[in-house]
Symmetry: C2
Subunit: 718 residues, 2 copies
């Protein structure tokens, strides 16, 4: 509904020259009194109009008895009154010509049908008059650059965030203020907070798109419970990626209980978490799992130096902590390359007692030779094989007697010449001490494990920046797919048209044709029953493999007819003849239609990998071969494809090509395909490609049930 | 070496009446001046004797020119002088009759051969005189109960820990002081810190055993880089479990690079991390992966209320945070049971707008009705199905204007009657506010994810307390196992003696005997070459399966002889005849001899699970069936054994029995068995048991190489 409106329409809400507060309380500790108190305390320079029918003065400011009395049409009206009075207030705002409304009040769509209808009425007025509406049931917004705190966030009682290159966009007000407070404590500058609440008008996508369009924003902290439009969300993420904004996303509802709780909490659809997870990755958004991780990664990214690769150096005063950082780096996918001989020799010249592999352990002794420590840091930072540095200084900054000062001088000296690589100091120090390091563009973490997690997140964000997006893919014209149950033979022909290699096959109706076909293909062959109603043929013995000669063929032919006829309601279209394919690794390629994200491609290895281990990966269609390659590498069973010394490696390139083709086909025919199942797709050794051995397409919306079966949902999609 | 000395021999070191500081500096900021400064500042009431050849007064205290001048034999001598002077000082201490030595100085075993020899000399003196020696190269100890800070930990410049029910035992001084500082900030009371350094005499096991014997200690935070004696470490853990101490262990060196770094850092062996991990679990020690987790879990356990089960309740002011806690709980293995109808109805009476499933979402509105919130907490805490509670109050405690006070009253009211279940409040508040909750035995966490991790750790520690240990197992008399390569037939007979079900088999040397045997077993049968030199028979085609009749049998018999004869150097002892076993799930049971922990049993599923996914689990031998049951449930492939609706479930009970028997056999024959491989052990459906289909035992130390092969290390052990 809001997709076509230009995101700049939110400018008036976030950058207002004037603001009216409808229902402003004289008591600054009340929800309805907080925005006024905050705005004034923060020194907002715009015009402020409290509206309160009972008072002429509110919190010392001239107040208006009604909206109609306002001396101008304010850019924003903040509505804080009871839900029953909101509709009237919104009408009056519309009359006056306000630019945008921030609606705190709850009691709308989130509380039942009556509230939903009321919310629709309000939305109707706003749409008609071109007013952007935030909420209802939201915590509001802030723009700390101009001191506009249009929110009742109680954490502002403690401190206001300073402005900076971070924006927070959150569906939950509680979450928004929680992380805003933590980030402020951490010294992160936050220019904007937008909480979207019920999203009657302004959706999460709108808010994300707006934040992604702000030149002064580099990092967006995004909190999601559920989204309404897959397209809108993907477009917003694509915009952020194009504009080089780093999006750090926390999405709740991954657990069974949790995703149930989401639906009871908001009107939004939770979406399948596994698909959501893959989509975030696909469009370059970094998902975090905890609040702490969100704060850490945002803090690190806000510093602005992302590592060019995953290769890191470690320098430590304690061997144990060096090892700990190694351990965590391995888990996080970072690498600690061995140092060049030159560097090692130069390090030993400076610190003869140090262990100069990576991690470089200077031992506690280096505290007495801080100049040498600085030299070692310089050496490491000049190493080309390393794109980021961890330094462990532990409790040294806590020391009395000048040692902490001396450490600071040494560290600033050792890092002064480095202007691009991220440097993380792991140490315990007080706030003031930390800030002095941060001013020199150094990151400080108390906990080494958290430091590693943040560095790894930065490395992944950097990689995804470099990743090509799917914008370049062209979708072919949709195929004509009958809206009725399709046989395997029909499905195979459609796949062939889509450019997927499919095993040669002929559909025959007589024994003579069958023998002819088998001879043409060469024995051994496979016979299968062809029937649109029998989509899981093997369950009734509708597939006979490895038929070695004409005698066996005729026997098998008769047997299949017999088995097919035994199933009432199934029309047998004929018998499929195909050669036995050479063995390879069996994979499964599927397409499902996600209610949020549309056609989604699933990939996994056959057998226990998919059935028992649920070792699958997903991508929203369409995507290119590069993305398909990343996808293939995500499954645990990848090492089977990759091969090991002494074991074959398989044609991942061909597989990636097929996955991409399937995704393009699925996207082009999104309206026609309910699901698709290539099981197995056999992959042969490198250079030999692969082939689809079985295909099942469920088309259209009016699917009929399979004989004796429920509507076939691919097993592989679970 | 130190196993037989009674742990109480450390009492004098940790509870000294008198202390000498050898090399005490007048400058309290120097390493050699710190212990004296700390001890006096902390109000240590014992007798203090600085020893410094150059001064009569040190830091205002009378000082002694030499050790010989001391007026008494002090309980402890802290030696802070250069490594070259240490041997003489230790001799003098021995002359005087000191009880224990704490040796800070570095430059011993950790620095090379010369240092190692010097360390041995010092140790010799100490052993001879019965002096316990801590270090060298250690950070010392503290006993905060008596103000004895025999350490140079710089973090004490900031604050002294208060005494409490926590002890820290650490191989790394840096780690010890790092976590001691963080725990102190967190309000955790720490009575003892012991850092073991080079462990010339006092080992990690000794320190752990001592801490596990202190009546005033409930929780031990343990930091490990590597251990020397598996037995000593296991005994210490067993002692801790018997004495109901919770051990929270951080062990570094899990990564490839990290474990390499461990060996460069200390003299200790890193041990295989996967084995270490399983051993910790086996003996009820909780492993943490990060420092933060160590602090969190220690903090939570120190409160003293562990949940009786994994079933938790959640009450929240924000739906999103409720969902987040659900998500984290699922990952951590906690459960959120549905609430009873009664409770739900009663909750709705108090909070009609709340969502009363679990999590109970009171919404932000409840802040205005804190009495109702208190009532809801009471209701949840009285629920029998719930053994712990998470409460999310977010930023409310930050609020000005009395709301935070009112919240505190409500929470104290709501939890007052609960004396056993752990209650974690997730909220942002200042230190003083936090403490007021903690005084009421409530735990406070800023981050919900960390709260969940800590609760899950407590639940697991509680479970492992209830777990039976292996003390009750009796080992059978060792079998007589020849110290030479064994054939499959010999290995199978040994396994049978150990009580493992093995497929029926006969070793024949003539075709007639072969046919007889096959007829006795009934077709189809399997033939295998029997040769101690051919331990991987299938590689040379030494196994022929599924032989259906006499004709096929005679053909196979001849073929096997032909194949066997083609291998030079292999003595063929005969042909093994066995029936084809009914199909089931193939598992692998192995035994390896870990250099630290001795015989260790490995379990996994056959095929890709072990070979490609490395989906295995380990346990130190011996262990009982209960432990075996836990072990089986740890592998990812367990769901294949467990079965699903429509799929069979397999005889896990029988499997657990076999695993336990194998472990008992491996322990009883520890000196004789290098490795054992049952591959496959086939498990049948529930009630039908299972059977070993192949066995390989490598015995003794003087193994010869297999023909054309390297010494057979089981593939499964990687």
């Amino acid at each position: 509904m809001t997709q076509n409106r230009h995101i700049s329409s939110l400018d008036r809400m976030l950058n207002p020259q004037s603001v009216a507060i409808i229902g402003a309380s004289d008591d600054g500790s009340r929800l309805s009194g907080r925005p006024l108190r905050y705005i004034r305390k923060a020194g907002y320079a715009g015009r402020i109009y409290p509206v309160n029918p009972k008072r002429d003065v509110v919190q010392g400011l001239r107040s208006y008895r009604s909206i109609a009395e306002l001396p101008e049409a304010p850019d924003v009206a903040i509505i804080t009154i009871s839900s029953k009075l909101v509709l009237t207030a919104v009408s009056e705002c519309a009359e006056v010509g306000v630019g945008a409304i921030i609606l705190f009040s709850s009691g709308f769509a989130e509380s039942g049908e009556e509230g939903r209808i009321e919310q629709q009425k309000i939305l109707g007025i706003c749409h008609e008059r071109g007013i952007r509406l935030l909420g209802p049931n939201c915590l509001g917004v802030f723009n700390s650059k101009i001191g506009f705190f249009g929110t009742f966030a109680t954490s502002l009682d403690r401190s206001f965030p300073r402005s900076g290159n971070v924006a927070i966009v959150s569906q939950s007000g509680a979450f928004g203020q929680h992380v805003s407070y933590l980030m402020t404590l951490r010294g992160v500058g936050i220019s904007y907070l937008i909480t979207t609440g019920n999203e009657a008008d302004v959706s999460l996508d709108d808010a994300l798109s707006w934040a992604a369009s702000q030149a002064d924003i580099d990092v967006i902290a995004l909190y999601v419970e559920g989204i309404r439009s897959g397209n809108g969300f993907v477009e917003a993420m694509e915009l952020a990626r194009r504009n080089k904004k780093r999006v750090v996303c926390m999405k709740v509802g991954s657990s069974a209980t949790g995703s149930h709780a989401v639906s009871s909490h908001t009107a939004a659809l939770a979406g399948d978490d596994a698909i959501f997870d893959c989509v975030l990755r696909q469009y370059g958004t970094h998902r975090v799992r905890t609040i702490e991780e969100m704060v850490d990664v945002t803090y690190a990214c806000a510093m602005g130096r992302l590592p060019k690769s995953r290769r890191m150096g470690v320098i430590t005063l304690s061997g144990g902590f060096g090892i700990h950082i190694c351990d965590m780096a391995e888990i996080s996918g970072l690498e600690l390359p061995a140092l060049g001989k030159d560097v090692q020799e130069n390090l030993l010249k400076i610190l003869p007692y140090a262990s100069v592999s990576n991690p470089v352990d200077c031992t506690g002794q280096a505290v007495n030779e801080l100049h040498a420590l600085a030299g070692a840091m310089k050496l490491l930072l000049s190493e080309e094989s390393i794109d980021g540095l961890f330094c462990y200084f532990g409790t040294v900054p806590l020391t009395e007697a000048g040692i902490s000062k001396a450490l600071r001088s040494a560290v600033l000296e050792g890092t002064r010449e480095c202007h691009d690589k991220p440097i993380i100091l792991c140490m315990l120090a007080d706030q003031q001490e930390l800030r002095s390091y941060e001013e020199a563009h150094l990151l400080v973490f108390e906990d080494p494990a958290r430091a590693v997690t943040a560095m790894a997140a930065m490395a992944k964000l950097k990689e995804s920046e470099q990743a090509r997006d799917s914008a370049g893919l062209t979708l072919a014209k949709p195929l004509e797919i009958p809206r009725r149950p399709l046989s395997e033979y029909e499905a195979s022909r459609i796949l062939l048209e889509a450019g997927v290699p499919v095993v040669a096959q002929t559909c025959v109706a007589t024994k003579i044709d069958c023998i002819d076909a088998a001879k043409r293909f060469g024995f051994p062959v496979v016979l299968k029953l062809v029937s649109a109603q029998l989509q899981h043929k093997s369950k009734i013995g509708g597939v006979i493999l490895n038929i070695g000669d004409v005698a066996a063929l005729t026997k098998a032919y008769d047997e299949l007819w017999r088995r097919g006829s035994a199933v009432s309601d199934a029309t047998i279209d004929g018998i499929l003849v195909m050669p036995m394919a050479p063995p390879g690794i069996e994979t499964i390629i599927g397409v499902i239609r996600d209610p949020i994200f549309g056609p989604t491609v699933m990939f996994g290895l056959g057998g226990v990998f998919v059935e028992s281990l649920r070792d699958i990966t997903l991508r929203r269609a369409p995507f290119g071969e590069e993305e398909a390659n990343r996808m293939i590498r995500e499954i645990a069973g990848y090492r089977l494809l990759e091969g090991t010394p002494g074991k074959a490696s398989y044609d991942v390139t061909a597989l990636a090509n097929v996955l991409s083709r399937v995704s393009v086909f699925a996207a082009a025919n999104a309206d026609q395909i309910q699901s698709l199942d290539i099981n197995p797709f056999v992959v042969w050794e490198v250079g030999k490609g692969g082939i689809a051995l079985d295909a099942l397409i469920v088309s259209g919306k009016n699917m009929t049930s399979e004989v004796g079966q429920v509507v076939p949902i691919p097993e592989t999609a679970a």
